[in-house]
């Protein structure tokens, strides 16, 4: 593997990883992502409506489990009865017996314990916190960073458009921030990171903006293949349209489903550094780790996002994975997966000294 490191200044480091493998994705990954693609194509209707019942039928879900598995246990919490906002909390297992009900919210044990608020992907429409793919990913994050992970089951489009998902993210952030049992011993504060893939990355960004405006401290943002866009057709969209599981047409469909009716993709939710957005300059926005897959057709928007953060004077680390497709982080059977996991661990642990 060859590394090309281009460091212009300290706040913007781009690492390009070249993979010399012939094969783009392992066979079982191809099967998994193609299966999703197939199902999702069926579920989206041309008129903008969505076959939610079939979607829920097809989605593979797993229960929470207070019995530790591979050193992690989980339980679900209702954060807000009005909106029925549920989240799944993942914790490192305690020494000795599995946690009893009263142990679930036992204070975290450490000088500094990171808490990652995670937003699952699905282009604002698909998946849930208890989807098997995301339950698996969150479990990995616990072990990786020694962190607590809180996976938010935000309301989805098209039934619930902007700003529902962001509002739910905000509710979750406040909930996490106000749990005494999540406070690190060092300073009796909750050490929060926001993370998400695809639409979840977008939500993480927007919740961070709100956090900064309200004075809630967020230590870092982790954005995996975050979902951004705009009205312009970028070069990567044209070049990669339909080539690696994703089409421009389906991207358009999801934005139409999420954005308020009548709005176009210049809306700041879609285009955070576009003409309609507020500037982040001068704000103490958290540092960001932005992971971009080289075969993701929206990479130009993701790169623009990283650029935008940099221009606003914000700290950002861009991890560009040349031959990665969407969903590479769902299965631990490729090098990109391991690279990203290591980067995330380093990113989180840097704040936990």
């Amino acid at each position: 593997m060859a590394f090309v490191e281009k460091s212009s200044d300290l706040s913007f480091v781009c690492v390009v990883v070249c993979v010399l493998l012939q094969t783009v994705v392992p066979l079982n990954t191809w099967v998994l992502i193609s299966n999703f693609k197939l199902a999702y194509n069926l579920l989206r209707r041309p008129d903008g409506t969505f076959n939610r019942h079939l979607a829920e039928f097809l989605d593979r879900k797993v229960p929470a489990n207070a019995n530790p598995v591979n050193g992690v246990f989980s339980f679900d919490v209702i954060m807000d009865r009005q909106t029925n906002l549920l989240s799944r909390v993942y914790r490192p297992a305690f020494a000795g017996d599995p946690p009893s009900f009263t142990d679930l919210q036992k204070p975290v044990d450490g000088e500094v314990v990171p808490v990652i608020v995670f937003f699952h992907g699905g282009s604002f429409v698909h998946s849930s916190a208890n989807s098997a793919i995301y339950d698996t990913l969150c479990r990995r994050l616990v072990g990786l960073c020694g962190s607590v992970v809180v996976s938010v089951n935000y309301r989805r489009a098209p039934e619930n458009r902007y700003p529902c998902a962001y509002d739910d993210g905000w509710t979750a952030l406040n909930w996490v921030n106000s749990r005494p049992w999540l406070q690190s011993r060092k300073d009796s504060k909750v050490h929060i990171f926001l993370a998400g893939d695809s639409s979840g990355g977008n939500i993480a960004h927007n919740v961070a903006v709100r956090a900064v405006e309200s004075g809630i401290g967020v230590l870092g943002n982790i954005l995996l293949n975050p979902m951004f866009g705009g009205t312009e057709r970028t070069e990567s969209e044209t070049r990669l349209d339909g080539k690696y599981f994703v089409t421009v047409r389906d991207r358009d469909w999801y934005w139409r489903a999420f954005l308020p009716e009548g709005e176009d993709r210049e809306h700041p939710a879609c285009s955070p550094f576009g003409p309609k957005s507020k500037s982040l300059e001068g704000l103490s926005f958290p540092k960001s780790l932005v992971v971009v897959a080289g075969l993701d057709l929206i990479q130009d928007w993701q790169l623009k996002y990283a650029e935008g953060l940099k221009r606003a004077g914000q700290e950002v680390k861009l991890l560009y994975l040349d031959q990665a497709t969407i969903g590479f982080y769902l299965l631990p059977n490729n090098n990109h997966f391991h690279t990203v996991m290591e980067e995330i661990a380093a990113f989180v642990n840097a704040e936990c000294q």
Partner: protein, 492 residues
């Protein structure tokens, strides 16, 4: 099975992976040619999405795929760019780092799904006191247990909402156990009272309706071509399941089949024969909707007393269905009982057997484990009944009594008196399989209609339907509470 995909909920044999990939590609190509395919597949009933190979295969045949097994090389699917080359892609470095995962997602005995619904200080203290009391009983320290159960009572009284009510019933159960008083757990009350309570439960929340609805869907699918249908209901109660089925049969294209119902109930008293009365009511209903109807009531002390001859089946002319909603678990109080019943059922050769059971293991050997399981199960159930938008109704109050009696039985009763011996779907699957039944999957249309049914209920947001390996579960939030499954004779 491919381990990595299995963790994510998909069962695909490693040896079949390439074949599944090929089928996916084929399907992609067929669908990309026209929009009709997509519409067809949207209206199709889907089954068992975990079995990817089968699912894809079914869709291909739905679309009447004219392609031969050899793909035309000139019709290259754009998406081949990502398609793996001939050799397996995983390089050595990646596979050596492969994480070995235990099966996290499966609903085995290892899974303890907990939903924290009340994280207020008093709620936690209450649970703590309850569990401490149960622990004391487990250690046979009855003096300590006595002191603790009194403190539970005090705490529960000041706890508003579902938690307070649940705690009160559990405290009742604990108290009975401590004082060794009335270990029947109150089951000596008459059956008509039980049935009345169940009616209230039926009215106030969707669990029974879901049970009836999903079971009926499976039945309808199994009897589509039958001209004469005979349903044996192992627990007739108030017969609430059958009008809806009869209605669905009445509007069947080509006209309704004739419908015979054999309802099993508890022994009848001299002065009332409620089974027969119910039969009459249903007959009147059948007449009103134009369905030929026949009824027989079978009184039995226990379902294991049933013998095949009692059903008077007519195998030459009738399609037989056996239905059981919340009945099977009761037979686990006597060794061999449930096997006897299931053998009897097998003997009459039903086309389909539908069962609905509570999704919980309340039949563990260790008291403390049972207690903990039940506490969380009924907490979820009571929480779902709690509706901050409407005032408590008589239905709801009586539903709580209905469930409360179950709680007391689980906690206080032992031996043959303990009839609320709920077991999980995973456990029932093993049992049904060993007796000689194969699962019949419930599909996406049953799922959809069940979901739509639920949205009618206030607080409907919290109710979730889940597909699990061909069965349907209804839960509150993420906690499945009841499971419907369907069966046929193995090899049939």
């Amino acid at each position: 099975m491919d381990e990595l995909l299995e963790v994510l909920g998909y069962k695909v044999r490693s040896s079949e992976m390439a074949e599944v990939a090929q089928k996916l590609e084929q399907l992609e190509m067929v669908l990309s040619n026209d929009d009709v395919g997509s519409t067809v597949l949207n209206d199709t009933v889907h089954y068992n999405p975990s079995d990817l190979s089968n699912w894809v295969e079914t869709m291909l045949s739905e679309l009447n795929n004219p392609e031969s097994s050899d793909l035309d090389p000139t019709r290259i699917c754009e998406d081949r760019s990502a398609f793996p080359k001939a050799e397996e892609g995983a390089d050595e470095e990646a596979s050596s780092k492969r994480i070995r995962l235990e099966s996290v997602g499966s609903w085995g005995e290892l899974t303890r799904p907990l939903v924290v619904v009340d994280s207020q200080e008093t709620g936690v203290r209450l649970v703590h006191a309850l569990v401490a009391c149960a622990e004391a009983i487990q250690q046979q320290d009855l003096n300590l247990a006595d002191a603790l159960v009194k403190s539970v009572g005090t705490l529960a009284a000041s706890q508003a909402g579902a938690m307070g009510k649940v705690a009160t019933y559990f405290a009742q159960g604990l108290a009975r156990r401590i004082y060794a008083a009335d270990l029947s757990g109150g089951s000596s009350v008459g059956s008509s009272f039980e049935e009345a309570l169940q009616m209230h439960f039926y009215e106030s929340c969707p669990y029974l309706k879901f049970a009836h609805f999903t079971a009926n869907q499976a039945i309808l699918e199994a009897v589509t071509t039958a001209r004469r249908v005979h349903v044996i209901d192992l627990g007739l109660n108030q017969g609430m399941q059958w009008p809806a089925l009869m209605q669905a049969l009445a509007v069947r294209p080509g006209g309704p089949p004739s419908f015979r119902l054999t309802g099993v109930g508890p022994p009848q008293t001299e002065s009332s024969d409620s089974l027969q009365q119910l039969g009459w009511k249903l007959a009147q209903f059948a007449q009103a909707i134009g369905v030929e109807f026949e009824f027989k009531g079978l009184a039995a002390e226990s379902l294991s007393d049933l013998e095949p001859e009692m059903f008077e089946t007519r195998p030459e002319s009738e399609t037989l269905v056996v239905n059981s909603v919340f009945e099977l678990h009761r037979l686990l109080n006597r060794s061999g009982s449930v096997e006897k019943l299931l053998t009897t059922v097998k003997t009459v050769k039903p086309r389909i057997v539908t069962t609905v059971e509570q999704e919980a293991n309340h039949n563990g050997v260790v008291f403390l484990d049972r207690f903990n399981e039940a506490l969380h199960y009924y907490s979820s159930l009571f929480d779902s009944l709690e509706d901050s938008y409407t005032l408590p109704s008589q239905d709801r109050v009586m539903s709580e009594v209905y469930l409360g009696r179950q709680i007391v039985n689980v906690v206080a009763a032992e031996g043959t008196d303990r009839v609320e011996r709920h077991e999980t779907l995973a456990q029932w699957k093993v049992r049904m399989g060993s007796v000689g039944f194969d699962p019949v999957p419930l599909g996406s249309s049953a799922f959809k209609q069940a979901s739509m049914l639920l949205s009618v209920f206030a607080g409907g947001d919290g109710y979730r339907v889940e597909e699990n390996d061909g069965c349907l579960m209804l839960g509150w939030q993420t906690r499945p509470l009841i499971a419907t499954s369907a069966w046929k004779l193995a090899g049939a």
